[in-house]
């Protein structure tokens, strides 16, 4: 392992020279962890996450991390992450579909415990019937828990979002866990071009005393004496304390907007802002949406794309501004419930322009043609269905 020098997150993410590599999404996760000065990673295998956590294990073996272990199962892994972060170190873990749901009770309590950490989510069908294929219905469960949720379109996003996830998560005015989600297989096991900063640089170590909630390490005065634990009682004070705490978590989630803009250039990316018809998509669906936008342009149709990078906080204002003159909004998704379409409808005043779909699920790919069909419909273009013989 090369000697790594500590540089500011701004330098590493925004200024340092970058070199182009052709790597998988799993490698992109690991390349980010390599430069993130992570202290501990805790892993429990599940396809399609395993490869990432193998690579992180190799980083530990090489000396990039100080501790690493294979947990008993996901609930244990996610609980141990909470313990490690409370102890003041920087932690990373990742999971997929059934693993995410198994760890969910622990994961959704991280915001309340003010646990800054990064969790990779490589989406996978939630059983049953059994399948290991990409389907991102699991992300719907994460949207209402206070976590920051970023959704990566490709290998480059995986790298940037994961590396930026640590400083965003640890900002004193945020102090919440960051989820970096991406589609299993389509991104994790496929190669793409990723611009990487040098590997002899790393983020500054976590400073657990720059915190709204101090670490539990018996080091900082005054000693905690809790003579009364009102949250555990059934009286008005306890209701109030819990209510205020929840408000603070969501306020902190809001405050992360400026840091997402700072490190990742915004909560959305807009292609062709003056379009008549828009595609709004996140994750892998945004890659297909990007292709559809390009096809449409070749055919002379005025179509735009809004890629949603951050699902929480949600880019409500950005969508309102961009979509205010749109006559149709197409929301392609990799799940059956259409959680993104619901979010978009709730965000804009004229939800009637939102087209539900196209949607694929169960691990299917999302052909650009499906999105094109919706585009033609939106422009009132009748296309004859070609039958291939």
């Amino acid at each position: 392992m090369p000697e790594q020098k500590v540089v500011e997150p701004e330098h590493l993410l925004l200024e340092a020279p970058r070199e182009r590599k052709f790597i998988t999404g799993s490698q992109a996760f690991a390349e980010a962890v390599k430069r993130a000065n992570v202290d501990i990673a805790i892993a429990y295998p599940i396809t399609p996450q395993s490869e990432t956590m193998h690579l992180v294990g190799d980083l530990y073996a090489q000396g990039y991390l100080k501790d690493y272990y294979r947990a008993e199962e996901e609930y244990g892994a996610m609980s141990a992450i909470a313990g490690a972060v409370r102890g003041g170190v920087r932690a990373f873990t990742a999971t997929s579909g059934p693993g995410l749901l198994r760890g969910l009770e622990a994961i959704v309590s991280w915001p309340g415990h003010r646990i800054p950490a990064v969790l990779g989510v490589m989406t996978r069908v939630v059983n049953a019937p059994l399948s290991i294929q990409p389907d991102n219905v699991e992300l719907a469960y994460l949207l209402h828990s206070g976590l920051i949720v970023l959704h990566a379109e490709n290998q480059q996003d995986v790298f940037d979002f994961t590396l930026a996830g640590f400083p965003i998560s640890e900002k004193v005015d945020v102090y919440l866990p960051v989820v970096v989600a991406t589609e299993g297989f389509f991104v994790t096991h496929a190669k793409g071009y990723v611009e990487l900063p040098p590997e002899d640089m790393k983020l500054p170590p976590r400073d657990p005393y720059k915190a709204p909630v101090p670490p539990t390490d018996c080091e900082i005065p005054p000693a905690r004496i809790q003579r009364d634990a009102p949250v555990q009682k059934s009286n008005f004070m306890s209701y109030l304390i819990h209510a205020v705490w929840q408000q603070e978590i969501w306020a902190a989630n809001e405050r992360s907007r400026k840091w997402i803009k700072h490190f990742l250039g915004g909560l959305v990316e807009v292609v062709n802002p003056d379009a008549e018809v828009f595609i709004v998509a996140s994750g892998c669906a945004a890659a297909q949406g990007r292709e559809a936008q390009r096809y449409a342009e070749l055919e002379g149709l005025n179509v735009g794309l809004v890629k949603v990078k951050s699902l929480r906080p949600f880019p409500t204002q950005e969508l309102r501004d961009t979509l205010k003159n749109a006559k149709a909004v197409i929301v392609p998704e990799h799940n059956i419930v259409g959680w993104l379409a619901k979010e978009v409808k709730a965000a804009i005043p004229n939800s009637g322009i939102v087209v539900d779909g196209p949607r694929v699920y169960g691990g299917m790919t999302l052909p650009v043609e499906l999105i094109m069909e919706e585009i033609y419909k939106a422009f009132g273009i009748k296309k004859e269905k070609k039958t291939l013989v």
């Binding site: 244990g76 972060v85 409370r86 102890g87 390490d217 018996c218 005065p221 809790q226 009364d228």
Partner: protein, 288 residues
């Protein structure tokens, strides 16, 4: 830092709550306390909302008195009666989700070892029979298999006390409890044997009839965990409410159980024995 962070900064004495000042001036921080002095110093836990006459509450009081280094101790608890008192002690306390204690403690202890490799920071789990042997069973066992260096104390009231008296894996066979309307169908889990098999380096089973012995066992378990690996104490702490034991008979019940299935039992590895002998010999020499 330990002791330093407990002390009051000069000039602040009159602004700190009386309770806190008393803890620093007349409490246990930085001192060796003998459990028999209970009542003569400011204890780490005083008020708590556990039932009157609850033996678990008494055990917890003795537990805090026995801590070898309260200023460098972190206690973890979970849903269950014990947390009602644990959360009100003057020692940092972590409360996560039901049954997660041994996983959280694993992460915490490792983090503290990374950040303070030359300092002793004691991590102690105190949780119920349901928390450790039912819902958290896998995490309890695996923390032992992995040889995590912290102490686990099971306060076994043989029932889910906090949720109103349901059967737990530690309830005796045949007993009729809620959710066991026709009586429990299987034996009490042999937690001590499991702990020994799973890799604990110090294991004790105790019915709390003798405060000196409780304190000694707790101290030993914590000291051994610092150096060698996981340690476990199985303590009988009756639930006088769910088992209808009149308060004045709680001690008699504990004595009776001590003669039967809660006979005092202590086991440790040879290296732990050697280490503890050394420490206890030195302590005796200092005293005399």
């Amino acid at each position: 830092m330990g002791l330093e962070y407990v002390k009051i900064s000069p000039g602040f004495e009159k602004y700190m709550p009386r309770d806190y000042v008393d803890l620093v001036e007349f409490g246990q921080f930085g001192k060796e306390i003998d459990v028999m002095q209970m009542g003569q110093f400011k204890e780490l836990v005083e008020e708590h909302p556990m039932c009157a006459g609850c033996y678990m509450a008494y055990f917890i009081r003795v537990f805090y008195t026995a801590l070898p280094k309260p200023e460098d101790t972190i206690v973890l608890g979970t849903a269950g009666c014990a947390r009602l008192a644990l959360s009100q002690a003057a020692v940092p306390f972590i409360y996560g989700n039901y049954g997660d204690t041994n996983a959280v403690a694993s992460g915490l202890k490792r983090a503290l070892s990374i950040r303070f490799p030359d300092k002793e920071k004691d991590v102690v789990v105190i949780a119920g029979d349901g928390g450790l042997m039912d819902i958290g069973f896998g995490m309890t066992m695996h923390s032992w298999f992995r040889r995590e260096k912290f102490t686990t104390i099971m306060v076994d009231n043989e029932v889910y006390g906090n949720t109103g008296g349901q059967e737990s894996g530690m309830s005796p066979k045949g007993i009729q409890l809620k959710m066991a309307p026709t009586g429990k169908k299987f034996d009490k889990i042999n937690a001590v044997e499991l702990a020994q098999t799973a890799g604990c380096v110090y294991v004790a089973r105790i019915s709390p009839t003798n405060p000196k012995r409780i304190a000694k066992v707790i101290r030993r378990a914590i000291l051994a965990a610092r150096k060698f690996g996981p340690t476990f104490i199985h303590a009988y702490t009756s639930c006088n409410i769910e088992y209808s034991i009149p308060t004045r008979e709680v001690l008699a019940d504990a004595r009776q159980r001590e003669k039967k299935d809660f006979k005092f039992y202590e086991w440790m590895t040879d290296e732990v024995k050697e280490y503890l002998n050394e420490i206890e010999k030195k302590a005796k020499e200092v005293k005399s």
